[in-house]
């Protein structure tokens, strides 16, 4: 906990942010237009950022806003706008099949939430506050006996490279050269 806040204020903040996050999540689930959903998702992310802050993780809170709500969601909105699919699309929010398929995930949600609610967790006083230094220290510790997270840091770099190459392969115009690509002969995926 931030030492500056007392419990009550923390409770109020937490309750508010939690409700906001849930409301935004429900909004994402229920919104008709993807743009609305995107905005609501950004709202949920910002709420979570607040909760991170409350949970003594300021570094993550900042990262959440910068990377997630900022970069990733901007990309999403950008694509939605580029494809111009936001308004013309008249897909129904829900249809009968949505209702039928909702049972399983909702039941799962309920079971998970109830199970979590039954558990008793206590805050450990020895928990380290989530500021950049301790995180960076561990992330980049390279000596013997360290945990080697830097290896994963490198690995994530590779992952991102793969993602970019993959995205290029999937969407690059150059690869669509219809005169060279034989037309599909038969749709045999049935």
């Amino acid at each position: 906990m931030f030492p500056e806040f007392n419990t009550t204020i923390a409770n109020i903040y937490f309750s508010g942010l939690a409700i906001a996050a849930l409301a935004c999540a429900v909004g994402v689930l229920a919104s008709r237009h993807p743009l609305n959903a995107a905005v609501l998702l950004v709202g949920a992310m910002l709420s979570l950022s607040g909760i991170y802050a409350l949970l003594d993780a300021p570094f993550l809170a900042v990262l959440q806003v910068l990377v997630y709500a900022g970069a990733v969601m901007m990309l999403v909105v950008f694509v939605i706008m580029v494809l111009n699919r936001a308004r013309e699309d008249a897909l129904p929010r829900f249809d009968a099949w949505s209702v039928a398929t909702a049972a399983a995930p909702l039941a799962l949600t309920a079971m998970l939430a109830i199970t979590m609610a039954k558990q008793h967790l206590r805050i450990d006083p020895a928990a380290v506050r989530g500021e950049p230094e301790p995180i960076a220290e561990r992330m980049f510790a390279m000596g013997a006996g360290t945990n080697g997270w830097w290896l994963l840091f490198v690995a994530v770099g590779i992952t991102l490279l793969v993602a970019v190459v993959g995205a290029v392969l999937l969407s690059k115009r150059r690869l669509d050269t219809p005169n060279e690509m034989p037309a599909p002969e038969a749709n045999h995926g049935h």
Partner: protein
């Protein structure tokens, strides 16, 4: 398992990665068909080097993050072999179809890097990063035929389900972290947090069972296998499953050991009574039910398939079931031993890659002739591919003398030894149904002359020929030398001790 220095252990991964990166970097500098002529060789060169290095890679771990042991060595070698073989298939397909781009080879290499990382992982986060590396590369490869509707559909289904189950796996990781305070496989569960552990393990297992295509998380498999180019199907089917099972095995043995020490995949671990009762028994039950469903669904649904890719898709489901039977619990006080699973996985990876590479060579332009009618008599036209495909199919069917038989034999044999006589019987009867599907294809391959007399369109074949030959030779040759399996029953050990010497080869 002792700490060892970084580079020798990770050198295979680095070499494959290097091959992929060089191929990626060289891609813009090559024009047209030259891409297909040279880039796969660059990637395969990295793999060959990696394979050689992997043979001599030390047993041990780095930072408790990545590890190597005899099982991981064999799995890695199988994955490298399968990937190299599939690389030939991809080369053949793309060259034949004059695909205007060479990124695929780099992506295939990256996927291999990811799977090698999955196999080597000792940590759930490391595993997750690896699995995503592999998966993202495979997603792109599945969607390679960009203007084919079934390819698009396969990509959508695979990607969305994959993303959902990634999240589920990760949530499981988070819960397990909550339970143990660590993301390492094998960390001891803290007092009073058993529920988080069980739930987390179950969710992680669900994520992994999705990756292997086990029922009920299997629906993507037939579609993705069908939508992807045949050669990519081979790559995907062969390597992802091996990696996912390596993860499941590490999770399983880790839960059982609960010491916080790095887990060797070929270790025999005797769980404590508490862990056994609270964690392993429920988990084993879920996995085994899923396994039985898988092998029934996979084998029987395969019977009616006409497309080879779809057939292999259901075969993937069925084989996932057989492999997951390795998680039948032994009697109380006896050690868990996953070595049969690794043997099976090695055989499966090689057979899948070999089979689909051969089919890729026989399937004609745009893989349009990969169904039963299209393959009619192709074995007579191209005996090498026909022979290799037949061997691989026999391996799928579990017929000796192939590795597929030895895998089924040891996995189901262990099931029987653990008291699951009826499970084994169900497995064997389903296997006969599956064999019907595979052998129908094999028969089709050899019976009669091809319906169309025109020669098949083929691309550069050198790599393919070596690939399928390698697959066939390995499938038969390794049977005589089941080096993965122990020579005598290992002493049950609570603490994991890696075997000191390289696997003894039978005289």
């Amino acid at each position: 398992m002792d700490p060892v220095s970084l580079f020798p252990l990770l050198a295979p991964i680095v070499l494959v990665l290097a091959g992929g990166l060089v191929a990626l970097a060289a891609e813009p500098f090559l024009e047209g068909q030259a891409k297909h002529r040279w880039l796969p060789w660059i990637a395969v060169a990295g793999m060959i080097a990696a394979g050689i290095v992997q043979v001599f890679a030390p047993v041990g771990h780095v930072h408790g993050m990545f590890a190597n042991d005899e099982a991981r060595r064999w799995l890695s070698l199988a994955v490298i072999a399968a990937a190299a073989c599939s690389m030939g298939g991809i080369q053949q397909s793309l060259d034949r179809d004059r695909f205007p781009g060479g990124e695929s080879y780099a992506l295939a290499a990256m996927a291999t890097v990811g799977v090698l990382g999955m196999i080597a992982s000792l940590d759930a986060i490391a595993f997750f990063v690896s699995v995503e590396t592999a998966a993202l590369a495979i997603y792109a490869l599945v969607g390679l035929r960009r203007n084919r509707p079934e390819s698009n559909e396969a990509l959508l289904k695979y990607f969305v389900m994959g993303a959902v189950f990634s999240a589920i796996f990760l949530y499981g990781t988070a819960l397990l972290y909550g339970a143990t305070g660590s993301t390492r496989f094998g960390a001891p569960v803290l007092d009073g947090r058993g529920t988080y552990a069980l739930l987390g393990a179950a969710l992680m297992a669900a994520g992994l069972l999705f990756k292997v295509g086990s029922v009920p998380f299997h629906a993507w498999a037939p579609d993705a296998y069908t939508g992807a180019p045949v050669a990519v199907t081979g790559l995907m089917g062969a390597i992802i499953k091996v990696g996912a099972f390596a993860g499941l095995g590490a999770l399983w043995l880790g839960l059982a050991s609960g010491t916080g020490l790095p887990v060797a995949l070929d270790a025999a671990v005797t769980p404590s009574a508490a862990v056994r009762t609270h964690l392993l028994e429920p988990l084993s039950l879920l996995i085994v039910i899923s396994a039985i469903l898988s092998l029934v669904v996979g084998n029987f649904a395969a019977l009616k398939q006409t497309s080879v890719r779809r057939l292999i898709g259901y075969s993937a489901i069925a084989n996932a079931g057989y492999m997951a039977l390795a998680f039948v619990l032994p009697a109380s006080g006896e050690a868990l031993d996953l070595r049969p699973l690794w043997l099976y996985a090695v055989g499966y990876a090689i057979a899948t890659a070999g089979a689909l590479t051969a089919v890729a060579s026989l399937a004609g332009t745009e893989d349009t002739k990969d169904d039963l009618a299209g393959l009619h008599g192709r074995g007579r036209q191209m005996p090498l591919y026909g022979f290799a495909l037949t061997v691989c199919l026999a391996s799928f069917a579990g017929l000796p003398p192939t590795l597929g038989f030895l895998g089924k034999f040891s996995v189901l044999g262990q099931v029987v030894a653990h008291g699951g006589v009826f499970i084994a019987l169900i497995g064997l009867i389903a296997a006969v149904a599956g064999a019907g599907a595979y052998l129908r294809l094999a028969v089709q391959l050899w019976a009669g002359t091809p319906r169309d007399e025109q020669p098949l369109a083929v691309g550069t074949q050198l790599l393919t020929r070596w690939g399928v030959t390698l697959a066939a030779v390995l499938l038969i040759g390794l049977t005589a030398l089941p080096a993965l399996l122990p020579q005598a029953r290992p002493a049950p050990a609570a603490v994991v001790l890696p075997p000191a010497a390289p696997a003894a080869v039978v005289h």
